[in-house]
Symmetry: C2
Subunit: 399 residues, 2 copies
Amino acid sequence: MTTAGTAPETAARSGSAAARQHSLREHNLELVARAVFEGPEPLSRAGVAASTGLARATVSTLVDQLVAAGLVRELPAVTGGRAGRPAVPLVPARRTVVGLGLEVNVDYLGVRALDLTGEVVAERVLPGSFHDSDPAAVLGRLGELAREVSHEVTAAGMTVAGGRLALPGLVDPRAGLLQVAPNLGWSSLEPVPLLGLDLDVRVANEAKLAALAELAGGSDVAAPDSFVFVSGDVGIGAAIVVDRRLFLGERGWNGEIGHVVVDPAGPRCSCGAFGCLEQYAGKEAMMRAAGLPPDAPLTDLVARLRAGDAELTAGRALGSALADFVNLIDIGTIVLGGAYTDLLPWLRVDVEAALGERVLAAPFVELQVRAAQAGPHAALTGGAREVLAQVLADPSAWV
Amino acid sequence: MTTAGTAPETAARSGSAAARQHSLREHNLELVARAVFEGPEPLSRAGVAASTGLARATVSTLVDQLVAAGLVRELPAVTGGRAGRPAVPLVPARRTVVGLGLEVNVDYLGVRALDLTGEVVAERVLPGSFHDSDPAAVLGRLGELAREVSHEVTAAGMTVAGGRLALPGLVDPRAGLLQVAPNLGWSSLEPVPLLGLDLDVRVANEAKLAALAELAGGSDVAAPDSFVFVSGDVGIGAAIVVDRRLFLGERGWNGEIGHVVVDPAGPRCSCGAFGCLEQYAGKEAMMRAAGLPPDAPLTDLVARLRAGDAELTAGRALGSALADFVNLIDIGTIVLGGAYTDLLPWLRVDVEAALGERVLAAPFVELQVRAAQAGPHAALTGGAREVLAQVLADPSAWV
DNA sequence: CGCATTAGTTGTACGACTGAACTATTACCC
DNA sequence: GGGTAATAGTTCAGTCGTACAACTAATGCG
């Protein structure tokens, strides 16, 4: 008993655990669920068997379990013009299981519930100003919104699988701790208990979750599997997605591109250092450079740029910082989010020029810069998607 | 047959394949092998069972297979002063299976064979000058050295599991292609066939493999599980190790810290851009700054610094670039290799100051800067270790 | 209407892990 | 010195998940 007690820690350290018979089933259940969810068009049982390499008999029992658990739905058998028994197409189940995305940001609170098809089944967004706010009060209010949403979906027969709370700051997801969120004026607190929810909620950085929302892809463009997501606002945050998974570094504090050196002789930054990217390509800096007040709405800047009454010089600095990023991590696709999405037409030339000049591997690979596809409040969508991804990763918990 | 043909690709794309019965065994075989190899002190069968969570009966059969395959060795049973049947300690087998590390660098060729205990069982190092050399001739010569080593170890009854060829340049490990190695004057070639070896050899970047050598740890200090390894020489390369595994980005071209911006108003770099780190902290820049010829040996610089006849200003630039690195990927331990290992005493203060100033998370985490532990020609050791790690990851191939 | 074709199901076989009982070997204590 | 407790390792029946093959189901086509 004493020695056995150390087993879980050791297993966790090495990242893998003993595999039993039922681990096999869990693994294959995930494999089948993924095949159904990620396939470009609906697959039949036989199609799943072909694409996974599992035997048809095995797939049948696994699919039956997923259907019984309410994760997968059978469409009416479709006779596709060719001989043979018609296939039964399998699709993600609608309105049975939902993931909750929660967010506190400088200008709004929000909760969004997504089902397995990616559809928004309930939502509350509360605009406001949460500069230097009281964490307990704000998170309490957010908790109320979440309870409203939660009741709404459970009343409709759905199950809430869990939640993700997006916060604009340094967050340690493993410890459930917010270290500091400068724009909220929050520091060193455990946000989840203040929500007062009877639900498995984890915290995450806002830019990281917004990046995950990109994985859904746009209507026209497919989402890349690996990309760097850069969210430009007052602060500038980034997330690294490799093979559709977040790369978090040791503590989830990576992607602080806003404080990369652009010019050591540049202006002093709020972080104390000199010449950080934020001083060139942060929202306030861009506004000032265009002769607008720093807290003017983004649309004002876009209007000026459209009219030709201002120029956007932030692209050079952004491109320089992105070139550093690409040189250091080698991810060839850059997705620009936040304010940069709308500003991309005036940024693209300078950014691409800087990448071409400074990225060592530029001659050998096509670097892509594209606008974010996810709509407003992307972190809400990303958070809900992450919860659902976890359901998908371990469907056996729902069987 | 037509549909089944797509299975492997699909499985490969999603990163996981169908799990059969024998996958279970493979997984657990790896688990047991890892427990034996990575444990701080030798474990018995019962100890492995406790640490992995597998049943004793299962562990026994798995261990027996590993012993039969020559990967694990049983030490004489030891009576440890306490009651009960004495345990049989299990340790990595000596001189049964070896991995080969190969390297072409500017000033030498080398081949090193390591066995599972990490001991060097054979080695050839050939100093020389391979600036602007002929790839076919040089790789042919290296192939001869490798054949000598290979014959030596097979004559002693060992099996060669494979090899890794380390090259100082942009390497695509997946495609087995060297894009460009500026200091060798090589570009766009497939190096492995030129070795003329009847062996599974893959290419890799020199700094990446040198980083893996660090995982063995020093005699005094344990190796960290996650770190950034920076190798300073004429060029400056880096590798990212997370949970004891290389993070390679999309193509293995990451870690190009030598071309991170230190000052856009700085001197022009060989890459075409301005103010790259290499122009401040590359070996030639450091030599010049100390009033030495750019190709002087490192010992000359160290002698001057010891005597107080020169100052090393590279630390500020290096610290600035490292701060960018840490802000972007959040790895708290930095291991300095190459020329930096010996220069660390004169770099440390400036590097740590820059990290403290520029790293956003600095107040919340202790950043560590340490010297590389692996000895000379670390890439040879790292390459051999990677081959052996692959043996460990799939022992079933040897059973 | 029968045959070829494809989808899905059923049943047997096999392989891998588990738990419990068993053997082996030592320390400790009276 | 012998009995007892303790620990290591082995044996064996039991259980579970997948594979393979044979089967049923449902459709198109000639």
